[in-house]
Point group: C2
Chain length 201, copies 2
Amino acid sequence: MVREGDRPSESTVLITGLAARYNVLKNGKRQITALHVPGDFVDLHGFLVKTMDHAVLAITPCQVGTVPHETLRRISENQPHLARLLAVSVAVDAAIHRQWIVAMGRRSALEHAAHLLCELFVRLQVVGLTTDNSFRLPLTQEELGDTLGLSTVHVNRIVQDLRKEELITWRGETLIIEDWSRLQQLAEFDPTFLSLEAEPR
Amino acid sequence: MVREGDRPSESTVLITGLAARYNVLKNGKRQITALHVPGDFVDLHGFLVKTMDHAVLAITPCQVGTVPHETLRRISENQPHLARLLAVSVAVDAAIHRQWIVAMGRRSALEHAAHLLCELFVRLQVVGLTTDNSFRLPLTQEELGDTLGLSTVHVNRIVQDLRKEELITWRGETLIIEDWSRLQQLAEFDPTFLSLEAEPR
DNA sequence: CGCCTTGTTGACACCAGTCAATTCACGTGG
DNA sequence: CCACGTGAATTGACTGGTGTCAACAAGGCG
């Protein structure tokens, strides 16, 4: 969808599908830095900053909308209310990044994975993409590893642990959270950072 | 400076000193998610999002300026150009967060540390706080560990490696980069993400 | 039916964490 | 001016979590 070094002239809103922002190191290792669900701007960054320091990948086939930067600029000059919403969107992205940093730095692999699943569940719930306690998670274990900063093999072990603890079921692309309460507790997950409370902005 | 859960009514600009944003887990582990140098807004987040999901700590004594959110709101409604600068500031913060994620997930501890030092050097250079190849780094190894997501002991080992390789000298609060080129190469550091190029915004 | 991606397993290596003791650097008070 | 106290840095021994490698199983798809 976007390549590192690009200087896009429009920004992309994800409508359906799952997308990821990532960087690749010289040794070939890849780190996914953000997952985007429908409703997210995947590259507002390019509007504010000009040259992309990362790439964006469609994990599944995606439907997207595009907004020329010119339009964004006009909007943000004439409609401060909407400009503010864009800024909030960037700020929430940043808040999610910080939670990932906390998880990578100070949580075990198991807790980290649990935290990510909690985050995804809540974010998908907000946009109506969960049913009961389940959602579609169309990630391979390799992609999940690149997201968590773990090796594929270890992701596999962790997923099995989560299953063994009867916290989740994950078959094909369907992930079921079997015990939200314990999963949340394990992850020490506090959704505050997603800033979902309805309040005037 | 700010506590988690706060709902500040003003934002803080760092004028002198070093500040950090951090989270603490129930088990007592702390993760620093951002370091702020003079010129940075340390809690624009609180302006956009209302309730702080993290705390802010003054690492050294700091001089700060405060801007009431009310003022920020007025500015961003009447001066789209300035509003945009605020948004860019948030976006650059997010870009830095992403680089930390990459470093935590896919770089070795040594590379990660080298990357952070490169980042700090460049950021401090921009605000004129470097002299030659050195800058003040008033962090304890424990704080550096909480920043990198490493234990204190391991930080010590890593710092010694950097010294042994004659990449840096670090005595007291003064850090000297002895070989920028090799340090940058080790870290695979590309300053693009800091988005320093002068260009119209 | 047979490829090819994905998932799974086991053995082993190694990076980084933990614990505990020791040294060092300073600032303070006598 | 020196003894002491304190936080920071350093060291060593050991543990353990995660990575790596390599093989094999399981599905999905042409």
